[in-house]
Symmetry: D3
Subunit: 242 residues, 6 copies
């Protein structure tokens, strides 16, 4: 089974190296994982504009993946940029990290809080929650107040504080890390810290991992998205320029 | 007052000629209306993929409009492609036709049906309705079963039939034309036909007109969108490539 | 174009003088604005009972406006008293300030807070938000804790504090002034204060202004409410006594 | 225990005679039931305008009831005209027939259909359903297509047909009679007819009865509505004229 | 009229003695009230597991009640354990305390807070609120932080503090006591304390009382639940073992 | 990895034989799948009562599975009987087929229809949809009109007809088989038939398979449900009898 991770930000050697390692760690044994980056866009996705720039590239890369015989793709960003359009253009499963994470949150708890880098991304998170049917169960969104690029191990204490506050003050019983950094097993670390500070197990969901697992499962079941919901763009008279 | 209409499809002389005429007819006296088309994209927008292709261009054109001293922009497409991203990038008001039409439908009736060209656009219409808070009041979406490019006066009888059925069978009391063709006053014609066939006045909303009116009103009140909801993309370290 | 503002409180020279001035300032050049008050009712509307007393009068005044050849009416109260009944009785557009303000809030932001005079009005504001489809996006309602009649420039610092708290504590990104006083441009002043204190632009919506703009736009488009949603009361056998 | 039924339509000897008989039949033994009509208004309530005319009178009559030492009031109309305002003005319980019927429907089934006289009342029924939290469980509203005044035993077959269709076509499993006529036990008759035609018991709710039972129960428990939700109109400076 | 209270916890002499007294105090004069306990289960219901253990017993006891000629049953627990299944198995009305309390809360206020013993029951309360259509009006759930078995007069000051905080901080205007202890008129005491501390009347709902009143009313009207919504389990081939 | 399937119906050699085969076919290579049946309950689950009977047994079996060192359980019934209570009692992941199927439906389409055996199960399906946040996206529920025990290959043509009607008449774009029979790959067969009759790919979800895949993924990620949402029943004073 081949899974390709579409990383919707600009290539850097460091990023792709770490990412590869991380994605492979998520996948089951025997799964062939590859990762690609966009040629146009930004170094991180922190608002709708960043997503808009990445989307045509995401679609192009998903189409290429299908041509390469890949079995399923994930889009490595909580905002799911280009996911709906990509589903229109291919038959193989495409899984956004945001939709994947919200789905698992719904399964593991009753009230979810999303911990994210900055307040500017809140509207985007709310849109993801709403389209996953989780808006009524969204306890809060909390920001670590750093940029995606500066998000690192140094952000960990603040992320833990926000997750603890989400449980204590906002009524959350499951946490989704809207940004997990790269090359770290941050979700697991926060989960352990929560258990220690709260005295009770609260799952912390890593979108990268659950997207990978859903992609594997769809490929294994040979199940994919509806072509009524995501119709193939078919009209050749429309003169695509792109 | 200057209003610019961003037409998110590829330029053709015929399109722009008709469009100009139509947009000017919508505007109040003394308003300077201009229209521009995208350089990349498709000849019509009929799915998420088409929207994705147009969006970077829409943002570029809205930014240009602000530099040109334009007071407000409308996006001439029911799917509001690029509207959220464009609001992030500028301070002048940006009004999508879809959000504008749904808002006026909520004001004029209690249950709305959207008449659109094809079933493939239904999910997109549902998303627009949901983000406008009108999903609970959406009576139905009905398709004329033609492509946007073939939508013309010849489609009128079918559009009227669908609007009548929306009222009689689906419980609609206000109609939104998700596609109005270009250079025709189709909404008004359907409104008259509905009154004749149903014996009662049912408003038929033309998204182009109401978007223009909202844009004018925002410019007149010097009111614009929230910079918390639509934060300016500010991080220069992120190396935009586009 | 003639617009009439229905002021659903008892006449006083001072009120009508200030109101006239304010409503004219809202309207576009060339629009003929008139204002009328109710003969029965109260000096302010602060609960459902006050609204109930004003409503028959509001309907009577809207009917008179239609007979006088007026093109559209606004109802100058956030609670929209009598708006639905008035729409039944006439064909010209009738715009409530509450519904107008909530719809523009939806256009300009993602989470709205309404700043109002007293807690007693909260249920009424919630009803307005729900019927505008904005209940899921209502961040909070906050009270300045003064009566409508005492609401004045002296209330401004408290109103600003509440608006700031709505943004900082409740997650609002757009503010609606549920009461704006009369003869002051309070919304604009609060908007400026918010920008100074928060360092970011947050729109503050003045219901009087947006209702006027929507009324103008409907009159200009010759568009009005659905006669299925708001059916004309027709049965002469029912012996109206009023 | 004294219960007063506020009949929000104009007095006629025939109406009050029948009504008295009916309301007494609903009440428990030993309850002293009285009924009063409005002095201004219409002979039936079929739209928002009719409700608006009746409301000031309803409030006046509820206040009088409290002065007369009555323990609870019901408002004998599915639209609950004046219910919220009346709750503000008194401390004794006030129960609208619409809210009462929708709440009992929620208790007895999962999907409710309301059978009503005319389509013009649909928006009013939807508002009642929404404020009772039953909008998501409203299977349909169906009209017998007669006026309230002509609604009589002759309307019974049509009402039964609509109730049967609500179950078979719309998925309803409980029926609310939005109009029950006067002096007839219509709900019970329809219930029996449904059981015969469908082969299964489907409850048919008579709003008059359930409102009476809720009023009795509140009086018995000495429980009444919240004075935060329905604050007493207190400001004497406001110069009530009515 | 005979009403039976199904107490879904294990029998103790003390419990049943107090309970009997309390249930009789709730009932109208002339109503014959009996109470029974489960033979399997737990001494209190504080989570889904406790409910699961009690449910088969609850159904057995409700069936027995119908055979004994009882007119209606209530289930004496806020979680309504076994209510839906019991409705399937009998024709007499069955009323859960949770659904009854939420329904009366909706009638008496606009925003409800539920005061309960422990946080572990929150998800269960949310489910009750959702199925009663009250989730959008749930201001908060607050815990007294004691177990059901330890809940007693000594818990009263804490319960009052939580109710006051629900009004002041969470916006509640009506309180539901999710646990009322046994043999005390706690709701009434808290109501009086709230009025003293807040200076305004806030109803405090005792689920035991309102369930009894609804049961009486259904029995009096000879009205029961829908057999489409709660179909009788009929297939004899299925070999029930229990 | 060990996965145990909890089959909440009474044991029969034929059932368990077929089931084993089917569950193993769902699982990934190397996963050790076992299946167990309840000792009390019914031969099929077709209403809430059947679920109530099975639930204590389901919890007992899930607890046993944890003691046996199993890594995750699935509950082999669309109604998820006992899932919440079982999650309280153990730390290993427990996945209900209903919640699993609804979540995957949300991922693969926008509007889901559930095809089920009988109308009596509709309320149960609606509850599952609501708790998965999919109620707003539920296009319809359709019944094949057979009992679970008679559901077999002979039911296939009728199931296909209902699925086709769900797409054509109800607007569904993804189908969930609420009952799949045992030992047949019915979902896949219906999917193929839909593609042939509708000319477009519509995914048909087999709850058994997706529950297995989610269980595997949770076990692989060592992720489980929240102990705040599903608190361990801890109070030893409560004297469990069961």
């Amino acid at each position: 089974m081949k899974i390709r991770v579409i990383v919707p930000v600009l290539y850097s050697d460091e990023l792709v190296g770490k990412a590869h390692e991380e994605y492979r760690a998520c996948a089951s044994g025997g799964v062939d994982v590859s990762a690609v980056c966009v040629a146009n866009g930004t170094r991180s996705i922190e608002c709708e504009f960043d997503a808009v720039l990445a989307q045509p590239e995401v679609v192009r890369l998903v189409r290429q993946a299908e041509k390469d015989g890949v079995d399923a793709c994930t889009i490595a960003c909580f905002g799911d940029p280009g996911a709906a359009a990509a589903k229109e253009c291919v038959s193989i499963p495409v899984v956004g990290e945001g939709e994947a994470a919200m789905l698992y949150a719904g399964l593991l708890g009753t009230k979810v809080s999303v911990v994210i880098t900055q307040r500017g991304i809140f509207p985007l998170v709310e849109r993801i929650a709403r389209s996953a049917g989780m808006d009524r169960r969204l306890a809060s969104i909390r920001a670590v107040d750093t940029s995606v690029l500066d998000f690192s191990l140094a952000s960990l204490p603040r992320a833990i504080d926000e997750a603890v506050a989400a449980v204590r003050e906002d009524g959350a019983d499951v946490i989704v890390m809207g940004c997990t950094g790269t090359g770290m097993d941050m979700a697991r670390t926060i989960e352990a810290a929560l258990e220690e500070r709260l005295g009770v197990f609260v799952p912390v969901i890593d979108p990268t991992k659950v997207a990978m697992k859903i992609a594997e499962s769809l490929a294994a079941m040979r199940l994919s998205h509806s072509k009524i919901a995501y119709p193939t763009p078919a009209d050749s008279r429309r003169e695509y320029r792109y």
